[in-house]
């Protein structure tokens, strides 16, 4: 099962009827501790029926006036009586472990987010990505399908988007971080051309050719260390242009695989564009 489909534990901090209010400082510390350990927390002051949301288990924690009900399917209770927020978080961790739920924080959520108000479905991103992050919906639209395939800290696809429509929320700088787009950013068509010119036309060709050259030298010289260095050096230019971290470049597959994946991605993008053109007309998207 994908980590994104695995159930998670949510905490409901209950301070409604039949419970005593928590001390203000303790409440803040508890909230912070639970959030930093990766648990979603709902603060509830009103009475009501609380059901576990789909795909999650609910831990209801509070300073209950009476003994809380026994655990039921998808719901657990914890009486808060101490003053150490870490104990509650430990208890939540314990339940998570017992139920084999997803451990929060094991994945840094880094993936592209598409601004559909700008996206024109040109499929450049689908064509560019080697890691199968993008997919196409039943209606022929681009979508981010495999978020956890994305390479952490790599925003390269956002730089090839001609519409500045791809954001990485955790990126430091705008407009990739989702900042409003200004007129300078709107020189986006040029941005794409500049990258293309800089890299001599096709980024994957560049990677392939340079890696091949490095491989050739490697075969002549049989020097593992030097070959590795060559490979890294040849990728620096592409990395600098697209903002790809060195770790991601170093983990790229071999040149043959890059070629195959790039061709496959380009075929998919072409097929989708042809399908969309046939369905909606040339300029409809």
């Amino acid at each position: 099962m994908s980590r994104l489909a695995a159930p998670i534990l949510r905490v409901l901090l209950y301070e409604g009827p039949e419970s005593r209010p928590l001390a203000a400082e303790y409440r803040v510390d508890l909230l912070r501790t639970l959030l930093e350990r990766g648990f979603p927390v709902s603060c509830v002051r009103s009475a009501g029926q609380f059901d576990a949301l789909p795909n999650s288990v609910l831990l209801i924690a509070g300073d209950f006036e009476r003994e809380p009900p026994a655990a039921g399917p998808g719901v657990r209770f914890q009486r808060l009586s101490g003053s150490d927020p870490a104990r509650t978080a430990d208890f939540a961790d314990q339940i998570r472990g017992e139920l084999a739920l997803e451990r929060p924080g094991t994945w840094k959520p880094w993936f592209p987010v598409i601004d559909f108000a700008r996206c024109t479905n040109c499929m450049q991103c689908l064509s560019f990505c080697l890691f199968d992050v993008y997919g196409v919906s039943a209606s022929g639209g681009i979508e981010v399908r495999n978020q956890d395939n994305c390479k952490t800290e790599c925003p390269a696809c956002s730089r090839v988007c001609p519409e500045v429509a791809i954001m990485f929320p955790k990126y430091r700088h705008g407009p990739i971080n989702g900042e409003d787009i200004n007129t300078e950013d709107v020189r986006r068509e040029g941005m794409k051309v500049d990258i293309s010119a800089l890299l001599g036309g096709d980024v994957y060709s560049l990677l392939r050719d340079r890696s091949a050259r490095a491989k050739s030298r490697f075969s002549k010289e049989r020097d593992d260390e030097r070959a590795l260095k060559e490979r890294q050096n040849c990728l620096v230019k592409a990395g600098a242009a697209l903002g790809v971290p060195a770790e991601v470049l170093a983990s790229l597959p071999n040149p043959e695989e890059i070629r195959e994946r790039a061709e496959m991605a380009q075929r998919r993008a072409r097929a989708v564009l042809e399908m969309n053109n046939a369905r909606f007309g040339e300029n409809s998207l």
């Binding site: 909230l31 990766g38 949301l53 987010v113 900042e179």
Partner: protein
């Protein structure tokens, strides 16, 4: 719009893009609120899991997170587009006072 105003706070727990003092002040302000509200460790993660719809259904929506363009797109990607009148406060650029004021002001 029916139902009480929903407030959602994103702690952005896995990155250092929101100043800790801003998060701390907003969290402290919300914790003193005598109303129901929700918080998530990371809104991006919840969007990727398609688990944001239940957090904002019902009434008006106010969210403390990051850039509005991102937040709206995260909800749209998860199949739960925000209503146009949803108010999004940006903890990357606004002060805690501005964020809390936006979250807690009386319904117009």
């Amino acid at each position: 719009m029916g139902g009480p105003t929903r407030i959602l706070y994103c702690h952005c727990a896995y990155a250092r893009i929101i100043a800790p003092e801003v998060k701390s002040a907003v969290l402290t302000g919300l914790a003193s609120l005598n109303a129901d509200w929700d918080s998530v460790p990371d809104l991006c993660e919840m969007s990727a899991r398609h688990e944001v719809a239940g957090l904002v259904s019902g009434g008006a929506v106010r969210i403390a997170a990051c850039y509005p363009r991102v937040v709206r797109s995260l909800f749209q990607a998860a199949g739960a587009p925000l209503p146009p009148e949803a108010k999004i406060l940006n903890m990357r650029t606004q002060t805690p006072e501005q964020v809390l004021q936006g979250l807690l002001q009386e319904d117009e």
